[in-house]
Symmetry: C2
Subunit: 354 residues, 2 copies
Amino acid sequence: MTTVGILGSGIMATALAFPLSDNGHEVRLVGTHLDRDIIDSIKQTRVHPGLELEVPEAVRAYQLEEAEEAFEGAEVVMSGVNSFGVRWAGEQLARLLKPGMHVLSIAKGMEAEENGDLRILPEVLAEQVPGQLREQVSWSAVAGPSIAGEVAVRRDTCVVFAGPDAGVVGKMSRLFRTPYYHVWTSTDFVGVEVCAATKNCYALGAGFMEGILDSRGESEARYRNYDYGAALFGQATRELGRFMELLGGEPETPYGLAGVGDMFVTSMGGRNVKVGRLVGSGLRFSEARERMPGVTLEGAAAIEVIGGALTKLTERGTIEPGDFPLMRHLHSVVGLNEPLKMPWSTFFGGEPEA
Amino acid sequence: MTTVGILGSGIMATALAFPLSDNGHEVRLVGTHLDRDIIDSIKQTRVHPGLELEVPEAVRAYQLEEAEEAFEGAEVVMSGVNSFGVRWAGEQLARLLKPGMHVLSIAKGMEAEENGDLRILPEVLAEQVPGQLREQVSWSAVAGPSIAGEVAVRRDTCVVFAGPDAGVVGKMSRLFRTPYYHVWTSTDFVGVEVCAATKNCYALGAGFMEGILDSRGESEARYRNYDYGAALFGQATRELGRFMELLGGEPETPYGLAGVGDMFVTSMGGRNVKVGRLVGSGLRFSEARERMPGVTLEGAAAIEVIGGALTKLTERGTIEPGDFPLMRHLHSVVGLNEPLKMPWSTFFGGEPEA
């Protein structure tokens, strides 16, 4: 039995407590300052209000001020916050981690330097921890197609644990693996994390297909708009491959769970698809954003970061202006508030002239 | 203006008449012996009963016995039948083709030799035409994500025309290309056609995810089964890549329109997904098949052909028993009527031991 401390009690972090507790591990779930009501609810009723499910017996809930107690004796610590909270989580880990602990991160996103260089989030997380301690713990991450609620109700789910140390990710995977939660491992840390971040961007585009039907009063039309979504999916897959070349991931990483698998599941619904649908229906992104007050949109944020970085990388001559046409258009729509006008002829290396 | 003769008046063949006629070409649509009612309907009311749409003015409808008249002066001839009709269509073309004509095929499937060797359908089609004439015409095919009705109502659609001769596929693509029908070209004839055939098989599996919810009385459950579908999509993509190695397609072909793009759109619905859903709900394939009388299931047929061939190729030592685990399981379910039990641990090179 292993003790696992989880920082953050959102739906994904909490869902991962289900396979852990099914394996007999003790899970200590620590809410952030934004999670007070969640922790109160679990303490009082055992129900996670976001998941609308009872959490397993083996899960103990802690408010943030109880974090030190919660992490006492933990062998594994999960950074369970989303991409917006990674720096904050790193600062907390700086005071909570002890040498020998294993850190597992679930946030999907990237950060860009001033010059356009892109970095994966586990790197950003680790950087908040002072050098010596940082070297004395391990850093890995969870990726692949995984909807929180589906994990929590124990639907078959296939994921990838990635990190620089094969032994560590192997060990982490064994803690979580159950008959429904299937875990592969990868040492292509950069490739897996870049796929995790970029597929969120492309999945926002999947919302356009329904939105365009809405804009034409064809929301209930017999003939849908799947050809549109499929073409985006194809171009997105091509660009995932190009990101591997640019950022140093393994060429095959996009063509499995972390890439097309996760992009498929994220395209099936959720907040990013919803805001994409509003844009497809004819709204500018800023208007669509206003219709979803208080909702965090990781895909949109990732588009701003990654799309903005592509502009700088182009200025520096690292990439060509014709590279990543779909990501660039997503950036012009989401980051620059331009109208949606899919640049089909720029896809797949350029449509031949008519 | 070019005259295009189309043999077969099913929904896909007829849908392709829309971009052609939008470009000012004359389209002569010839029904097969199974299409008599369709042709009667178009002649009398202009409505295609399957599409439930009026066909364009430039389309003239012919019964099979009028085929010679219809093909008179045609520069391009489309084999518009599905995979079940390819040999028949080839026999008709043997009497209808004239030297210099360009043949374009739309059927998605493969044929297997007795020893397990797999062949693409345009090859089978061409073989029915005597050697000399066969060399005097060109052979190309249409692939990529394209739902017939969506093309006919002029939704944005991105496809690939593939064939051995870049000049010919370029010329063909120019006949069809419109502001909504976007056409790329490829000389990876084998790779594109193998993707077209195999994605149909994998898309049947996409039906399992809903069916499994049905089997548990959770058809309306908040938490769906997308993680399951996403994992299959990831493994299927991996196997598309493996098929390129086995059959000689270009490595990148699966990761664009002909592969993941078409697999995405085919996974969104249709007959194959429907029969997959019935299997997912707990029926054996033979029972599911009986509930869909008279419906042609190209994906299921392709699974029987391709899955059966894999068994023979394994016996011959051409591939390893661990290769293509998803296709093999689809074959055991669809071809051998075995129960559905997804072999997760065999995917992605094998799940590490717990």
